[in-house]
Amino acid sequence: MPRKAMLIDLRRCAGCYACVVACQMQNNTKPGVVWNKVEPCEWGEHPQAGRCYLPHACMQCDEPACVKACPTGASYQREDGITLVNYEKCICCEQCAVACPYGARHLNIAKDYWFESNTASPYESFGLQRSDVVEKCIFCADLVDAGGQPACVANCPGGARSFGDIDDAQSAIAQAAQGALRVDKTGFYYIPVAGLDEQMISDKVLKPKPEPVPAGKKAEANFTPVIAGAGVVAAAAVGGGVGFGLARAKKAGGQDAAAANSRAAGQDAAAPDSRAVAAGATATADSAAGATDSPAADKADRTNNNKGGE
């Protein structure tokens, strides 16, 4: 079964934000809605200081919590692993946003267009129109189905992003992902730069942003943590070496993509502790069901009072 996945080689990331804007144009996102984020990561002190940029979006979980949380079936997962939103069914209850461990869901209640205009520019008139929905990165499923690449991949000036069927050993992404870190049980892979550790990746991709913690301690995530289990393909492949929500990709060690990877992974390899992320097991049925009777009033209220998206 094909599994669509995204790999980002952080060494190639120019921190240029082209992927963010490419996504906003392609997907016609409304003012304030950002599916695809790029965040700086920093570590160390001069003269050992380091920094890089970390793009992240919907991680396209193996078992998406958002789908389980959705009371109407608007959020659903395709066989190729991509989770989509049927906007017609979305009642904007935001249970998916609550359930998502990555903060990847975005409320779109925008009524204005860019420049606070009440008229759509040609580029805003083109493509999918929607409002009063909760949305997220869909791996540009429409472009992909037409044989193309997601907008962020096609428009990455540094060539940092790869996209394709990670289960096809011959695919470019599967080749490139050798030795990469996988965000546990998701379709997202990273090749870090030297000095960037897994903790920092986790801190950035998980929501909300943890407060700075004293040296020697590690931040706690604010959702029910689940130990990455035997079912995790990637973890199994490396003998249980699961870090904080990150697992070495298949065939790890076959080719050392980044010396730092080994070091970073090695530090946490012995501690497949309670901080591994397995999105999909965190949302509760109660919270999802409990929200179904109120969204209309809730939505009307927000619509009157807000202009921006999220």
Partner: protein, 742 residues
């Protein structure tokens, strides 16, 4: 406003999939709706048209495919099979700029006096505008001579050819550009060393190493970073000199020399000394093809790694190692920049030292090294000397009349454009009294208020721009609306021997006109109709092509939308041996001595030191004011989402930095009790601005990094007019300041 019912997603699926740019159905999940009034016919076809981008305007001219429906662009894509691709954030946001509702779209004339704090405007016709311009400029010419009219081309740079031609036709030697504070200092240093403009060259598959001197390609041209990274993966070694930890440093640098801004000259001297001490130079090349080696050797000998560490803050061992890495991995190339390589009080010396490094290693014009030799006969702005009437300039003695000739004789020797940094003095002295100011911004010079006053004091000035910008346009008499990238043709994009023609993709907004057309129409109104092709841009471009004597026409370019490859060209290595680099076809380099000048004959003839000597910045750690302003002020570098003062209005871009930011190291921030996001005063003896604090590892402790061009926090209130005497460039990279919590 269209009332969008999301229950009505119905239309357009087929069309969208067919074009590959819309949104298609995915397992029944995604549907469609187009607002009713957006297009006359929602099913009208989409045509794909080629263009190239003008958002940066440092000439990457990245390729664009525009999807056009009913004369409106609905999507842009990166152009495949094109030398400069894919697009960056700015390139994509060119679409948003095109449809920015705040664009200037009509000619306007000022209705109140310039004493008023804010200008008031009324719309006029183009004919009225041109008649007024002609009357005013001809009046100034009659009373004070043609040189009293400044013809200035800022951003965009694309109409430079037309503007210079107009200035010469009018008889004015006062043609200036923003290159008098950007890039051109580096070019002239390369000229002085090996007789040819250069900003370095990307490594090729044959390059074993690359020395990057203060270039952050990741942000100045992100797709170039992709090209460099591929060379890194292939095995090219990189040494990156930069005061900041940029993405280019993180991604490419095998060794990062993180120097104090402004100390480049000492680092370069130390680097050369190490090449000599470690016996890494190409002795045969040096002996045969260089001038002044022994004197250079003697001069740099005192720049030991320890002394260099003291001056530059670069660890001695790293310098030794970096010189070895570049010296042992040959052939190697060099990359420098229009910013980092230009904005210190020492640029006219230090940048020459940098260009000497590939020469000393024998890396000039060898495969994998720094290529030399004449390319196509176009200049930086895709124009030609003949089109710009430089023969007239010379024959009629413009050079002797230049206002800047005595202030900056070296600059004046190399460029037929004035060094504009002394504009306030020239206006004060009555030498310049009127201006045609295309893409001008008063914040581009150091100590902005002086330049504002100079522009305000002009008897008459007309600006040509995309937007009405009060920061400068409050100081002028008239503003004309220029058409944007997708709405115009000139100038060409030239990559190597390949020429691309840009055709307008859509018609201009409102009454906006292509800037080339505006300049040619001003010329026509001034009485040069025939020489300005009566405003016809195609005719001007045809003439421009004719002046190249390449035997090509616009029809040839139109027939080759994927680029017209001009046959021929000399790709032989070491062209200096066979006479391929000099106009007289003699062996050697196009310098006075015919050799690579390690000691510049041009500089000596004009009374300057010929060796690339290091001098401390006037405001720096060794100056008296350092105790009051103990932070090095480094301004003017690039961001990936703004170009200088441009593009602040575009929501797709200003989401990343919506307000002015001062970047400090954690050490410097904590020492001042500053936290992330605090409002802080940045100040020195000259001025003060308020900015938001960003604490980051990017900057070296002891240095602050500030992006320029903020109208509400113009950092050039703090930068000083300590011009490099050789190039005239201002020290945007090496001022002093202090930062304190508001």
């Amino acid at each position: 406003m269209t009332d969008i019912s999301r229950r009505g997603f119905v239309k357009g699926a087929t069309a969208a999939i067919a074009t590959g740019v819309g949104v298609g159905l995915s397992n029944g999940g995604i549907n469609f709706l187009y607002p009713k009034e957006a297009f006359a016919n929602e099913d009208s076809p989409i045509e794909k048209k080629y263009s190239y981008c003008d958002m940066c305007n440092h000439v990457p001219k990245c390729g664009i495919i525009a999807s056009v429906r009913e004369n409106k662009i609905v999507r842009v894509e990166s152009r495949d099979k094109y030398p400069s691709t894919p697009l960056c954030a700015k390139g994509i946001a060119s679409l948003q700029e095109l449809y920015d509702p705040h664009r200037l779209t009509v000619p306007m004339i000022r209705t109140n006096t310039k004493d008023a704090s804010a200008a008031e405007w009324k719309q006029i016709s183009w004919d009225e505008a041109y008649a007024t311009i002609a009357e005013k400029l001809n009046g100034v010419k009659q009373r004070h001579g043609a040189d009293a009219v400044l013809f200035f081309c800022g951003d965009p740079k694309e109409p430079r050819g037309a503007m210079q031609r107009l200035a010469t036709l009018f008889g004015s030697s006062s043609y200036g550009t923003e290159s008098s504070v950007c890039a051109a200092a580096s070019w002239m240093c390369a000229q002085m060393v090996f007789g040819q403009n250069s900003m370095g060259e990307n490594p090729s598959d044959k390059s074993a190493s690359c020395l990057v001197w203060s270039l952050n390609a990741a942000w100045s041209q992100p797709n170039r970073y992709g090209v460099l990274y591929r060379q890194k993966e292939r095995g090219c070694k990189f040494v990156v000199v930069d005061p900041r930890i940029t993405p280019t440093v993180t991604g490419l640098a095998d060794i990062h020399l993180q120097l104090r801004p402004g100390s480049d000259g000492a680092l370069a001297a130390g680097f050369i000394n190490q090449l000599i001490v470690q016996d890494l130079i190409d002795k045969d090349f040096v002996e045969t093809w260089t001038h002044g080696f022994e004197e250079l050797k003697t001069y740099v000998a005192s720049f030991t790694p320890e002394k260099v560490e003291e001056i530059t803050w670069v660890e001695a061992a790293k310098l030794v190692e970096a010189a070895r890495l570049i010296g042992e991995n040959k052939p190697g190339t060099l990359l420098t920049s229009s910013k980092g390589g230009c904005h210190t009080t020492n640029v006219g010396h230090f940048q020459r030292a940098v260009f000497m490094i590939p020469a000393l290693l024998g890396n000039l014009d060898v495969p994998g090294g720094l290529p030399l030799g004449p390319g196509l006969p176009f200049d930086y702005a895709a124009s030609t000397k003949a089109f710009q009437l430089e023969d007239v300039y010379e024959a009629e003695g413009f050079q002797q009349r230049r206002h800047d000739r005595e202030d900056f004789p070296v600059w004046a020797k190399y460029y037929k454009m004035m060094q504009t940094v002394k504009l306030p003095e020239y206006v004060e002295q009555g030498k310049i009294r009127a201006g045609v100011l295309l893409g001008v911004n008063s914040m581009m010079w150091p100590n902005t208020p002086l330049y504002k006053k100079a522009i305000r004091d002009l008897e008459f000035s007309v600006a040509i721009d995309y937007y009405l910008r009060p920061v400068t346009h409050d100081l002028v008499d008239m503003v004309l609306p220029a058409a944007m990238c997708y709405e115009r043709s000139a100038a060409f994009a030239i990559f190597g021997r390949k020429i691309f023609l840009r055709e307008p993709v859509v018609t201009p907004a409102g009454e906006a006109r292509e800037d080339w057309r505006i300049i040619l129409e001003i010329g026509t109104a001034l009485g040069y109709g025939e020489q300005c092709f009566n405003g016809n841009v195609d005719a001007a471009l045809e003439e421009l092509l004719a002046t190249t004597r390449l035997g090509i026409t616009l029809a040839d370019l139109r027939a080759n939308p994927q680029g017209f490859e001009v046959p021929g060209g000399n790709k032989d290595p070491k062209k200096y041996e066979a006479g391929g680099l000099r106009p007289d076809k003699q062996p050697g380099f196009n310098t006075p001595t015919g050799k690579v000048e390690l000691k510049s004959r041009v500089l000596e003839d004009l009374g300057f030191e010929g060796l690339p000597v290091y001098e401390e910045p006037l405001h720096g750690p060794l100056s008296a004011d350092f105790k009051d302003y103990p932070l090095i002020l480094n301004t003017g570098s690039r961001l990936p989402y703004y170009t200088h003062s441009k593009l602040r209005d575009l929501p797709w871009l200003n989401q990343f930095m919506p307000e002015p930011v001062v970047r400090l190291s954690p050490q410097d921030a904590h020492a001042r009790g500053l936290n992330q996001g605090d409002a802080a005063r940045v100040f020195n003896h000259q001025g003060e601005v308020t900015m938001k604090v960003e604490i980051t590892n990017m900057v070296l402790p002891g240095v602050v990094d500030i992006f320029h061009g903020w109208q509400q926090a113009d950092i050039n209130l703090l930068t000083t007019r300590d011009f490099d005497p050789i190039s005239g460039f201002p020290p945007f990279s090496n001022g002093l300041c202090e930062v304190a919590k508001v």
